[in-house]
């Protein structure tokens, strides 16, 4: 499936940013060619997966409140079918990293991510989760969750508005729709933390 063909309700291709990045991502995925029958089945699977992304209730600080607003009446992410927030990581599909991740929390987050069942996605929500944000100078902050776990979508802001989050969710949906169930690309190995990365895998 081409990026242009991906259908997101009420959103045109031009309405999205970062299209070039996705184009190159698709090109990389499609290098080996796809079987037509399999591709149709892929579409069905991806349709299901992209429309039913259950978030884990995980929030460390301020962004968590905006995440709550997203679930409440005004913004209502139930429209997208994302409102089934699961408290158990085993049943969740996506972690919204809402808020700063600090040293003491880092192993906990990693463990939560490891406990989730495939396919799993991560959204870095807010500048703290992206790169430390206003706490970049602190001695106890992890400079971005991508130091610990792989991130699919970054949503900037401090904290991002719920609208921004909905946009991020649609980007994630597009990304999921480009995946291939039957020929999964090689999973990127996560070098969790530059030093002692080996320990993390044990």
């Amino acid at each position: 499936m081409e990026v242009k063909d991906i259908f997101v309700k009420n959103m045109k291709y031009e309405d999205f940013k970062e299209n070039e990045y996705l184009e190159s991502y698709v090109k990389e995925l499609r290098e080996n060619g796809v079987n037509i029958a399999v591709a149709k089945l892929d579409d069905l699977i991806n349709w299901g997966r992209s429309n039913s992304v259950w978030p884990l209730t995980f929030a460390t600080s301020c962004c968590g409140i905006e995440f709550m607003s997203l679930g409440a009446a005004r913004y209502d992410f139930a429209r997208f079918g994302w409102e089934v927030t699961r408290n158990s990581p085993r049943q969740a599909d996506v972690v919204f990293c809402c808020g700063t991740i600090v040293h003491k929390m880092a192993p906990v987050l990693k463990r939560l991510y490891d406990q989730m069942a495939e396919p799993k996605y991560v959204m870095a929500f807010g500048s703290c989760a992206i790169g430390g944000g206003p706490f970049k100078k602190s001695y106890h902050t992890v400079m971005g969750v991508d130091k610990i776990i792989p991130v699919d979508v970054y949503i900037p802001g401090c904290p991002p508005r719920p609208d921004a989050m909905i946009y991020g969710m649609m980007q994630l949906a597009r990304k999921i729709k480009m995946q291939e169930f039957f020929s999964l690309p090689k999973q990127p190995t996560v070098n969790a933390i530059e030093k002692g990365g080996d320990d993390a895998s044990n």
């Binding site: 039913s52 209502d76 139930a78 429209r79 079918g81 089934v84 158990s88």
Partner: protein, 355 residues
């Protein structure tokens, strides 16, 4: 009135005309199994969608709107996803019990579902002890829940399972007693017999005050048996993360999820059968024109309409009330509901004798 027995009888005669009896039975078994499973799955999807929409309505939200028209395909998408989700292999669980638990819960639920009389002729087996069978099979689910909680090797699931055990076994009592009240009124344990007795007046009118009390008791106790708020202690989200199914992923969790919704429907369906006349249309004595009009509505529709009305009631309660505490929960059962149900049986006996 159009009854489904026409269709089922025709299929039976058609098969018997061409095949020996053994084959007919075999084909019918498979057919029935497939239909039950199909209806079960579709009903679960409908119920999940319904709950999400209704809950959204209570909370001034919209609910699913974007997948398919009015979000109708939302639960289909959920099903596709959950079928393909990874089943995590967890170290240090009891593998046999862990896997078995999810199946046990859903099997108990399907077995109960299969015994429901949807229409005349649309009933798998017409046991002469149908009510007893329903009670027996539906309480198998608690074994599954206890197994899940124990086998997961997790403290949350353990607490959830223990709560669930205490809760389900307690409420089973007043649930059963409320059903017995109706059995006394009808003088039969056979579901088809109970339903056909209600062709003119439903049990809830026929049984007078004792039947009304039994109906309320049954609704409360039945609601508690489905593990849904305000009785959702076994999976109390804000206390025990996800309760007894915390460690389950993928379709194993899906089984628990489906069973939860279907149990809600089953409780509503039993209430319909026992108290609200099953598939019998609404008749008011003396209003002949009205009665004939009502007869035109197919009985299956009547059954589902009544059952869904009960489901709606259950959803309404679930999304309005906060959760009970475990001691309050048990107090409600042992100090209020059960004595009341016992007294109610006595009242019903008097009612049957004198009216």
């Amino acid at each position: 009135m159009f009854h489904f027995s026409v269709v089922t009888n025709w299929i039976d005669e058609f098969l018997r005309a061409y095949l020996p009896d053994v084959w007919v039975l075999l084909i019918e078994y498979v057919l029935i199994g497939a239909v039950i499973l199909g209806v079960y799955a579709v009903l679960a999807l409908v119920l999940i969608y319904l709950e999400r929409k209704i809950c959204a309505f209570f909370q001034c939200r919209l609910g699913p709107t974007r997948v398919g028209p009015w979000g109708l395909l939302q639960s289909v998408a959920d099903m596709v996803k959950i079928l393909l989700k990874e089943l995590i292999k967890i170290n240090r669980v009891d593998p046999l019990l862990f896997r078995l638990a999810a199946f046990l819960v859903i099997i108990a639920s399907i077995c109960t579902f299969g015994a429901l009389p949807f229409d005349e002729g649309l009933l798998v087996v017409d046991f002469n002890i149908g009510v007893f069978y329903l009670l027996a099979v539906s309480s198998l689910g608690v074994v599954g829940i206890l197994m899940a909680g124990w086998a997961s090797n997790n403290k949350y699931t353990m607490i959830g399972a223990m709560r669930s055990g205490a809760q389900l076994i307690s409420y089973e009592l007043s649930c059963g007693l409320a059903m017995m009240t109706i059995v006394m009124l009808s003088g039969s344990l056979q579901l088809s017999e109970i339903v056909s007795q209600q062709s003119e007046t439903w049990n809830i009118w026929r049984g007078g005050i004792p039947a009304c009390i039994a109906f309320v008791i049954y609704l409360i106790a039945g609601h508690a048996e489905t593990n849904r708020g305000p009785f959702d202690l076994p999976e109390a989200e804000s206390e025990l993360t996800a309760g007894y199914h915390t460690e389950y992923s993928g379709i194993q969790f899906g089984f628990f999820y489906l069973a939860e919704y279907l149990n809600m429907f089953i409780i509503a369906a039993i209430a319909t059968t026992l108290f609200l006349g099953g598939w019998q249309p609404l008749h008011i004595s003396g209003w002949d024109a009205f009665n004939t009009t009502m007869d035109f509505i197919p009985p299956v529709l009547w059954f589902f309409a009544k059952a869904f009305a009960c489901v709606l009631l259950s959803l309404w309660v679930r999304w309005t009330m906060p959760r009970l505490r475990i001691d309050q929960l048990l107090k409600l059962e042992w100090q209020i509901l059960m004595p009341l149900a016992l007294i109610d049986i006595l009242l019903m006996a008097l009612w049957v004798i004198y009216f």
